[in-house]
Symmetry: C2
Subunit: 202 residues, 2 copies
């Protein structure tokens, strides 16, 4: 790409390093920003700056937070005895969206993936064990995606905690709501049959 401006080239280069954004998209976004005089650009730049400066990781669950301890951990209405273990903050947001969960969380920050150089020491597993040690946690719900890496991570954590008096459960796996059986992969379908539930007339 030939740029008429070095400043423009720098900005396109920086933005195009974001995942899923190529040079053409980056250029489109930046030209949009430049063409706009309503202060939208300033708002984006400012909010990103404030974010990087101000955001904290909750000391308890590693969720992003504006304070030392996040709102979920602080909330008196959340059951502190149930901890949902997830890979990332996006999973927390997805589960919160369902409004069906009233426990707290623990964010691992990833899953064990030797190929990507991510071992247990790179994840928030030690702090999870410490929480199990220090808090009165009764149940860990493993809301980890059922991939090879996810399974490995769950296995590793369950091994580490096998001497503790604590229930470890996995989120149910099965055919997604509205999904067609014919399009489900074999593994999912097998799991959904193996972990079938008694039918109740509602």
């Amino acid at each position: 790409m030939k740029f008429s401006s070095k400043l423009l080239e720098d900005a396109v280069e920086a933005v195009s390093r974001l995942p899923g954004i190529g040079k053409k998209s980056a250029l489109r976004l930046i030209l949009h920003l430049l063409a706009d005089d309503s202060g939208k650009n300033d708002r984006i730049v400012n909010s990103l700056q404030n974010l990087k400066k101000g955001i904290k990781s909750c000391k308890n669950c590693h969720n992003y937070s504006d304070n030392e301890i996040c709102d979920i951990c602080l909330s008196p209405s959340r059951r502190k005895t149930t901890v949902c273990v997830v890979e990332s903050i996006r999973d927390v947001m997805a589960i919160e969206e369902t409004q069906q969960y009233s426990g707290v969380y623990h964010i691992l920050g990833g899953v064990i993936s030797p190929l990507d150089g991510i071992g247990p020491e790179n994840l928030n597993i030690d702090s999870l064990c410490k929480r199990v040690e220090e808090e009165k946690i009764e149940e860990l719900i493993m809301a980890i995606a059922p991939t090879i890496e996810g399974e490995t991570t769950v296995f590793y954590i369950s091994k580490k905690l096998e001497n503790k008096d604590i229930d470890i459960s996995m989120i149910a796996r099965g055919v997604s709501f509205g999904g067609e059986l014919a399009y489900a992969d074999e593994y999912t379908l097998a799991q959904s049959i193996l972990s079938r539930q008694p039918y109740k007339q509602s």
Copy 2:
């Protein structure tokens, strides 16, 4: 979406106003930025800030430039008698990419589109007429996408300049109808410039 951090929410809100970026994409991008400690985030924010502060519009052709007059207008190797009239800077970049054009440019900043409230007065048409008046321009190549609005704009400009001793040509319709110049492949674009046709009012 439920955010654990107001700062995060503000940033997602700001970024999701960009074209083609929804809230989920914005969240993904921002979490990527936050997860990265290599200073990539700082680079993006800094480059956007520098861009907004430093970028100029070339006084001659309205191309983005780091200086008052852009490199293309200043270059001694560009033929100043041929001016390629385009809608946006992205078109300039696309044409430059073909390496088939050695004249200079004039960027209109859009096309006449009454439905969007864009009239001739919102475009760089007066400055084009002034250039025709003051510079020794022999030919205007209209490299405007062949849409209704594009055709209207070309017609308007040709009407304004009909008493001038100047050739007005259109890029050949190699560009598919309704297509955007910036997305045309280099060969098509190069061909459409080489086989430009004299403009006739129909």
